[in-house]
Amino acid sequence: MNILYFELLKLRKKSRGWLGPILVFILIMTAFPLTVEFLNEDLEQAFFSILWIAVLLVMMLATEDIFLEDYNDGSLEQLVIHTESLSFVIGVKILIYWALIGIPVSLIGSIYCLGITSSFEMALLIFPVLLISSYIFLNLFCFGNSLTLTKGSVLGTLITMPLLLPLLVVLGKVVIAINLGLNYFDFLILLLGVLSIIIVIIPLIISFVIRAHLE
């Protein structure tokens, strides 16, 4: 459990690492209705597209230097030498980022959903989808950033994009499912299934990638 405390200590002192992405999310969600002359109905239709893309962007921002700092200062080297399960440490690191960024963003997203759609039920149904999708986004961006650890995050993002597009399609379908009152829980189970695979596989792959970078 030391790793949990250590990561929280680092993030507590580096507030831009988690507060910055949350503020960017609030900025996007607040600015979007101000910059368009939509009727309320049109605004509601465009809202979910903006919401998913904002979550995606924020998770991309949040993971920009998730491993780079540790790589540059030699902490990753020490981790590789002294930690028996590097993938577990990486998994915990991603989990903490999600707890500090993903959960608040999901909560704020649901509040904006309530504000735009005026539907408490919609906000309630969107919240778990936001929670799961933000965790999936975070994992995938971490994977991309680990691949291009020393080459900059732009390349990592480009590599990750093809993996994110199917998820965005599913998220669009979830909104339709909620609106039509159809198989919402099937989609939720699908997303949970994807997440359960990703949270096991991605930290494992990242640990191999990091070892290769250090070599």
Partner: protein, 192 residues
């Protein structure tokens, strides 16, 4: 058959893009022994240490380890978080704040720097903070890559005395250094 060595390296060779860094390096590290890796810049000292640590893989050869209480490594990078205070960095390195730490901090002139952010310290002071982990370690093998870089004369003497004491405690040391640390160490020159 009982293994007496802590580290056994056999025929280690390493090449980068067909350029050979070193070839057929063999040695054993036993309890209460020190190995000093020497060589000019770019001769592969750090690479050899990283192979011993298991971070890098040799082009040829093998490294066998027989450690029970692990190893303590300090490389070129100090693993310090620049935006945290010295005290926070010590917490990150699992160093408990106790009497032994206070004594050490006084010995290396850093006792009043605990609440200072690391980025406000000089390179030498940062190196001393990184060395605290080495001074307080309980591993049976120390692997140090240029431990004297940035240290003043007093700190170098302190480090040398510490390493001599560690050897006396039956511990083992592998280090690379351009500075002679006055240790009874077997030398491996990578230029040859």
């Amino acid at each position: 058959m009982t293994m007496t060595y802590l580290i056994k390296a056999e025929n280690l060779s390493y090449k980068i893009n067909e350029k050979k860094l070193f070839q057929n390096i063999s040695f054993e590290v036993n309890s209460n022994s020190a190995i000093h890796i020497t060589g000019s810049n770019g001769s592969g000292k750090t690479t050899l240490l990283r192979i011993i640590l298991g971070i890098s893989k040799p082009t040829r050869g093998t490294v066998e380890t027989n450690l029970t209480s692990g190893m303590c490594y300090l490389g070129h990078k100090n693993a310090l978080k620049q935006y945290l205070t010295v005290e926070d960095n010590l917490i990150l390195q699992s160093i408990q704040h106790n009497k032994a730490l206070d004594t050490l901090l006084k010995d290396i002139d850093l006792y009043d720097k605990l609440d200072v952010v690391v980025s406000n310290l000089s390179f030498g002071q940062q190196k001393k903070i990184a060395l605290l982990k080495v001074f307080l370690n309980e591993s049976e093998l120390l692997v140090l890559d240029e431990p004297c870089v940035g240290l003043d004369g007093k700190a170098q003497n302190f480090l040398t005395s510490f390493l001599q004491e560690e050897l006396a405690k039956n511990k083992s040391i592998i280090f690379s250094s351009h500075i002679n640390l006055n240790l009874d160490a077997k030398s491996i020159n990578l230029d040859n």
